[in-house]
Symmetry: D2
Subunit: 421 residues, 4 copies
Amino acid sequence: MLDRSALLRAFRCARQCTVDLCAPLEIEDYVVQAMPEASPAKWHLGHTTWFFERAILVDRPGYRVCHADYSFLFNSYYHAFGARWNRNRRGVLSRPTVSEVLAYRRHVDDRIVALLTTADEPTIDEIAMSIELGVHHEQQHQELLVTDIKAALGQPPLYTPYRTRDDSGKEPVVLKGTGAMTSFAGGRYQIGFAADGFAYDNEQPAHDVWLQPFALCDDLVTSGEFLEFVEDGGYERPELWLADGWETVQVQGWTSPHYWVQSAGRWQVYSMFGVHDMAPADPLTHVSYFEADAFARWKQMRLPTEAEWEVAAQKLGHDELRDGSFLESRQFHPAAPRGEGSPLRQLFGEVWQWTASSYMPYPGFQPLGGRFKEYNGKFMNGQYVLRGGSCATPRSHMRMTYRNFFQPDKRWQFTGIRLAA
Amino acid sequence: MLDRSALLRAFRCARQCTVDLCAPLEIEDYVVQAMPEASPAKWHLGHTTWFFERAILVDRPGYRVCHADYSFLFNSYYHAFGARWNRNRRGVLSRPTVSEVLAYRRHVDDRIVALLTTADEPTIDEIAMSIELGVHHEQQHQELLVTDIKAALGQPPLYTPYRTRDDSGKEPVVLKGTGAMTSFAGGRYQIGFAADGFAYDNEQPAHDVWLQPFALCDDLVTSGEFLEFVEDGGYERPELWLADGWETVQVQGWTSPHYWVQSAGRWQVYSMFGVHDMAPADPLTHVSYFEADAFARWKQMRLPTEAEWEVAAQKLGHDELRDGSFLESRQFHPAAPRGEGSPLRQLFGEVWQWTASSYMPYPGFQPLGGRFKEYNGKFMNGQYVLRGGSCATPRSHMRMTYRNFFQPDKRWQFTGIRLAA
Amino acid sequence: MLDRSALLRAFRCARQCTVDLCAPLEIEDYVVQAMPEASPAKWHLGHTTWFFERAILVDRPGYRVCHADYSFLFNSYYHAFGARWNRNRRGVLSRPTVSEVLAYRRHVDDRIVALLTTADEPTIDEIAMSIELGVHHEQQHQELLVTDIKAALGQPPLYTPYRTRDDSGKEPVVLKGTGAMTSFAGGRYQIGFAADGFAYDNEQPAHDVWLQPFALCDDLVTSGEFLEFVEDGGYERPELWLADGWETVQVQGWTSPHYWVQSAGRWQVYSMFGVHDMAPADPLTHVSYFEADAFARWKQMRLPTEAEWEVAAQKLGHDELRDGSFLESRQFHPAAPRGEGSPLRQLFGEVWQWTASSYMPYPGFQPLGGRFKEYNGKFMNGQYVLRGGSCATPRSHMRMTYRNFFQPDKRWQFTGIRLAA
Amino acid sequence: MLDRSALLRAFRCARQCTVDLCAPLEIEDYVVQAMPEASPAKWHLGHTTWFFERAILVDRPGYRVCHADYSFLFNSYYHAFGARWNRNRRGVLSRPTVSEVLAYRRHVDDRIVALLTTADEPTIDEIAMSIELGVHHEQQHQELLVTDIKAALGQPPLYTPYRTRDDSGKEPVVLKGTGAMTSFAGGRYQIGFAADGFAYDNEQPAHDVWLQPFALCDDLVTSGEFLEFVEDGGYERPELWLADGWETVQVQGWTSPHYWVQSAGRWQVYSMFGVHDMAPADPLTHVSYFEADAFARWKQMRLPTEAEWEVAAQKLGHDELRDGSFLESRQFHPAAPRGEGSPLRQLFGEVWQWTASSYMPYPGFQPLGGRFKEYNGKFMNGQYVLRGGSCATPRSHMRMTYRNFFQPDKRWQFTGIRLAA
């Protein structure tokens, strides 16, 4: 458990980072909801604040809520905390304004900081877990904030850049993928979180699994490799797709990954820097599970399970967590590997890697106690686990045992593919 | 046809008024689209500008469009002008920003003013009709701007006021409705526009109709009268409703007019001043055709036809057009009659009056020539005519022959009821 | 008012005719509901029976309903008679079986016949109106039965014939359309029902209207003429369509009238005899109001109003009512005119003629008294009036003043076009 | 692999059984589709026939298809076999008639029997696998036929019985559930099919898994136990449900298991014998995964994984497969256990047991070769595995390794619950 000063540091850092991510935005950009599963930037700013208010302040003697309606407006999905605004309609609200939301943040931040600064030790002990949970919650929303901003700005025909690229002038040395794979023996392994420090309930308990021998590709699938799939008619061949995937392709009219733009016969992509030519060596991103699965079938390979991924990471992934592109890079776009590195390159950072594992409880799973027991467990249906973090994930948020999860048709996150066999 | 200076005056006045209406807004308020049939304030500002650009500037030699994508983004429904952004998704666009849209307005305004100032007379003759159409188009959007702002701000739980009421301190002398009716003989009448000056294509040609004897209520239906209907179970009795109306009541869950708020057993209404107690003597507003029709049936009366309404207005309505509350009052809320007035009070202003007439072409109707032939004619299906203008209509936009039209389930406009027998 | 023996004759005739129309059906054909607005044949058989039971028998002393659930299952839309089965789901019920429904018919018929045979005169007077209404109601359902059977059988790929054509061997002498029009003076006319005998509430009261001079085409629009519209890109040109019409074309994917089949570059049509080559001289049928309106615009003409149509019929239509193809022809397909005839050919029979008149109450309209006041009035929204009857209308059901009505996107009835100018 | 005579016997038996199941039906009952996921009995009869025609006959020299359109009409979801009729609209087709479909069955059966009787051994070898697959496919559809008939007949208000119960007069000796559980050690186990004989691709390959220690309830959850959940407000407490489950409860308006009928304060159930009082000791059936999961949470227990279930069945389930109620019982309703039996009662038969395992490929999964590779693999998304078979499953169809699968909101199958801890 973090001590008082570590809590203060983590809290301030996380809170500031969220606001900083919004710096390039115009006021208008805080308001819109590009699609039902995205949220306005303004809402993320308010919701993460509400989380701390709700978890820590509301029941403290003498605390007055900032605004009587904010709990209704900024509660996401917690039935235990009462009714809430319809999530599909977050983008039809202009109020509270951005400056009101920022004032709400300051209102709550001031009181949390005062509490962390002045409370006695028993109180610190009592709230430490909630503060830490709130920080991790805030970090999760930082990633969503980035991808939801991208969804808002990245609409045709304007494809507004979030910021300009600062080209250093020197061409990066791109390491070409070798197509090589790294093999692992079958047998009994342990996965799940059993270390000190923070982890979500869904990563626990650590437990044994039995794996057949397996191999993982050393490199992430690149845009160039996926382009071959596109050009081979991948989006027109039902035999390559799961039934639900094929229906999604038809209904959504997909013909390429999200944010790919075909212009005058040339493939371009929209990134946070605007529209530019596709770099074939860049890791592929913005594909759904359905596309990842279809691509794997086309390659006559498969996606790894989350256990396989975690076992590989236990053996070979430690350095990656230090070297990968995370949120801190402020590139918000996956980069080709820049050095030789370990046999398994880019296990962490760049893009979330879809696994073939449904998001289900680990054996012996216990949901978070206290008020936030709705946090993870109630979503354990209809989603797939993703591993490794992305260029929009805060580095300190990532862990080897971290389980992200999305429905198989979602692709506005930085999601990509590592193949297995 | 207006001359050069009148055109300049009308153009400048209309353009300024639209911007003035937005003065109380926060930037965020320009962005949202509260429901599919409403548009963001930002979009209204851009669309009315595009209309002038498209009608007058685009084909003039040497004109450079302000932005290549604005025609796509600000075209509303004109197939002749190419593809356009999906109207249901106007609220998911944060760009162009408000200041970019205002710059677009200045770009176009400057060139129109220069043209009106410097062009030779043949050119003025050539563009006069388009300028005048553009001004009337702008005025229509001023009303929509008001009602769309109301829709955006008037959402629970915040019910944000658009502005504060400037209470003059003195209680208005409210004239109670007498329940009296004014009768008109049957026979041959002429309706439709046949005067000098501007009118829309859909008001023409003037033509004869044959009416049976009829009578109109001297007063608009008030909120208090409609409350009796509500309390008599009006929203729960299918026998009072058209079949489509009853289905709408069920699907939408209507139990009162729009913007009525029941709080602690007391009826309140949301107006542009915020939420306040319902004033029973105020004209009822924000009811759909379905509610107007059901109320009439409950009263064992009926709605007037548009011909009846226009004939009555020909005889008794002239002063009303001077005295009613229009946009210029800046109250944006219908007021009880303040004086004895003519037998038919409040024929103009306050609230649009639903008629029992489907919106269909007059005999011999010719759609507007030139580029804007899609303006009115293509909507002549599934809508009802409303007459008289409202507290959100610019006074100079209104005419005795003016035909407004909406689908029978719409009620976010200032729509009310005058009964007939 | 019909006397006892006329009532008996009309009742027996109508009841038998409905059953006879089902003679060619397989049991399976009675069950299906091809689209939400159609009903299973089985349901029509039950509903028309329920109508007599409900209107006449239920409240007679000693009457026992045939089955406790039939009122729930066979009520169509009468709120006054309690809850009812969802009309969109009439085709998911296999029970009651066809033979049970026919037993229900016999149960009710026997009692009605006994009543008509043995009741005293005051009773006959009391029920005469309901019997007559029930007979006309039954006739309306005969037409729907035919068109709903056509919808059920006429689905690709099987296009099952309802019956075989009995070709007489001799080629009919087809009168080519001359393109001529007949003109009528403007002025004051009376329309609406004012004669003796039966008419629906919606045809009354007779009242005066004022018409501008007008002209009607002597002939119905033929399939061949409409083919020119199709081949001229009529379904691809938004400027020809009402806005709602164009949206319907897009959403439904219409490229031709309903039941037109393009096969190996040749146009065929499905009729109750199966699929056969389109006969260009046959009156066009199975078009919606939207298509009728678009075709008229393409021709630079228009659809007549119902008043124009009725005035023309008053002057020239009497013989037509005798000569047109009605249900009794058992052809269920409109035929080209076979003789010189009056200047206006085929005013009655063949195909319902869309008018440009919304279905609204006549001035002074009073809904049917008694239990069936929901019969007509509550549908007076969002529909257009059609005139003249069709090849599926019982001849004795038709009147000069008869007002049929459908939504503008419906086209599974025998609906066609006569143009006006 | 089965030899010639075993194939003949299995084929004849399966084909006859399907037809026998329809014996109690009226013609009308073959036609309807009670909900999109159910199919008309007529369609099952045709589809299972098409399967044999398509798998075996179509490419044999000299074979003429029975009807050119049947492949279009009776293909379910195989893209490889071309376009097909929309599955949501199977119930709008009255043709082919039942007798035509039965003739189709005879047409195909005659040729298959002739082939099996007269072909040389190499041909038998070549088709044996397809025959066997077709037989198992037919058996799967027998279960669906039963449940789809139940869905068609079991609609309110008629709740038509499929057949009458033959009460033997003697009250069955019902063994009350003891609430006891049987424990299993953790460790390495093998699951999946590795025996001789037929199994689907999705049961293979056999592979090792590592299990934590676990325990299974000896008895299935009974209706009486689930009633306690209902009466404890189970359907009104969001904290008991998965997020998707809670949304389903709201949207569907669920307040009890499917086919439960509350009448005058008494709980009844609809079974194939009609409506009768709920028997509290009967195994619960017709619950979705969502309900099973919520019930388990309410009990502070959980659902077993499919591996746990299979390991338990390996140890204790053999006799059950002989004693459980299967299709052959012709009761089509789960029965309370009738004897002491093994520690784990009713592992097989009665009701399918929802597991907590997503339906995913086993490690090393290879889809069926040849034409039917779409059979199982493409559905491996968004579904849960069920185990054990039900009172509507043919006994010979069941295996210890058998994996059935449905979406978590489906409950028209005979689905129930066995809890684990």
